[in-house]
């Protein structure tokens, strides 16, 4: 799936946060979003995921081969992955229970071994993932659970907003591995201020 932003604007009353922006993100590429704090990176990513409505313009998903219907992120659920600082999972559930819950509400349940494999992929101990509640994990470990959540449903487009926050060097390697796996499956949009992370991007915008 190709992600298309068409003259996208988000305003807060009379004040414009960003835009108008137009770009395309092809499958197999990483699109970087950079900019100072407060420049609207997080808002842009939320608009692209459909979590926030654009004030004008539109976001579309279309088959990369051309032809086929154009849809918007709001036309369905479970096709987009998102990992951001203001994403939170249920603290009273374990990481594995979180993954199993969200897969089930999306109508694509995962079996226990699959959830464990997803946790291992982001460098979390699957046994701990079944025994320790998410709120008792360190912030770095929680960030890894969020990464596992964001790729859980094999999304067509993966949105990573400051994916390396709270992560050590091993964690950053996990982010790179997540991005590499996603490139084989679809597109990545990566918002960050970290030059090492932005180096993963092949094109992008600066706000």
């Amino acid at each position: 799936m190709r992600l298309v932003a068409d003259r996208l604007v988000r305003a807060y009353g009379p004040r414009r946060i960003f835009g108008p922006l137009s770009f395309r993100v092809e499958p197999g590429t990483v699109f970087g979003v950079s900019g100072q704090n407060g420049s609207g990176k997080t808002t842009l990513v939320k608009v692209l995921t459909g979590l926030v409505r654009p004030s004008s313009g539109g976001v579309y998903l279309e088959p990369a081969s051309g032809g086929g219907p154009r849809t918007t992120p709001r036309d369905g659920t479970g096709r987009l992955g998102w990992c951001a600082p203001d994403l939170a999972l249920y603290g009273e559930l374990t990481p594995a229970e979180n993954l199993e819950f969200f897969a089930r509400v999306a109508g694509r349940p995962v079996a226990a071994p699959e959830a464990d494999r997803r946790l291992a992929e982001v460098g979390l101990d699957p046994v701990r993932g079944r025994t320790v509640r998410t709120r008792f994990l360190s912030t770095g470990q929680r960030q890894r659970v969020k990464l596992a959540f964001s790729t859980l449903l094999d999304p067509a487009v993966l949105f990573l907003d400051e994916p390396g926050s709270n992560l050590d060097d091993a964690g950053r390697a996990v982010v790179e591995a997540v991005v590499a796996r996603q490139k084989a499956r679809g597109a990545v949009v990566l918002a960050s201020n970290d030059p090492r992370e932005l180096a993963l991007a092949t094109e992008g915008v600066s706000l």
Partner: protein
């Protein structure tokens, strides 16, 4: 302002004077009502009718906003709700005066009175919700959703609750047999009054929407000045 609307305003003013004259002196008091109290019909009923019309407009523009997401529709819905509250209040107060004359008490929680208070509460809550949300787009969306959910409960307020208890309120204008029971002189003044007050409402509503537009454009210009 065009010549045409000047002429229309002049005609409206003359018609209004005619209705007031008619309500005092031309129409004869109806039977079954104490003294002159039947003259309320020329004022109270148009107020209630306009309030219903305004709330209908508020619901319609709310639905349009959710469909088209245009600021103008949100402003139109809010303005209609404000005017609806105004006319609803006027209907309440004029009704209360009538109640004093007919039943010797300004207020006695008659089912009609109770349900009109609830109606005022609904749209007061709507305006309260608008005041509590800062982001204009979120305000518009949430208040449109509330206006619509409130609108579907209004029939229960207006018809179901009064029906469950006996009311002293006279039959609504079109009574259960579907006939309008009025003498011809009352009918003439009544329908003129309905038309004239509806025209006044339309004028006020148009003014309200113009003012909303000016306020919005002023805010935009101010924001532009700050950005420079």
């Amino acid at each position: 302002m065009g010549v045409l609307s000047r002429v229309a305003q002049g005609i409206l003013a003359l018609a209004m004077l005619a209705v007031i004259w008619g309500s005092f002196l031309y129409a004869k008091p109806a039977a079954n009502f104490i003294g002159e109290s039947s003259r309320i019909v020329f004022y109270h009923v148009p107020m209630a009718w306009i309030a219903s019309l305004a709330f209908l407009l508020a619901a319609g523009y709310s639905a349009l906003y959710l469909k088209r997401r245009r600021v103008e529709d949100d402003e139109a819905a809010a303005g209609a709700a404000r005017l609806g509250i105004l006319f609803c209040l006027l209907a309440t107060v004029t009704g209360s005066i009538f109640a004093r004359v007919m039943w010797n008490s300004y207020w006695n929680w008659d089912p009609r009175e109770t349900s009109i208070v609830l109606l005022l509460l609904v749209y007061g809550a709507y305006l309260g919700l608008r005041g509590a949300v800062e982001d204009p787009e979120r305000k518009a969306t949430l208040s449109a959703a509330y206006a619509l959910i409130a609108f579907v409960t209004v029939p229960f307020l207006m018809f179901a609750v009064p029906r469950m208890y006996a009311s002293l309120h006279p039959d609504t204008v079109i009574n259960s047999s579907g006939k309008i029971q009025m003498s011809s002189d009352i009918k003439l003044v009544f329908f003129s009054s309905l038309a004239v007050f509806t025209a006044v409402f339309a004028w006020m509503y148009a003014l309200d929407r113009k003012v909303s537009r000016i306020v919005r454009e002023a805010a935009l210009a101010e924001e532009g000045a700050v950005a420079r």
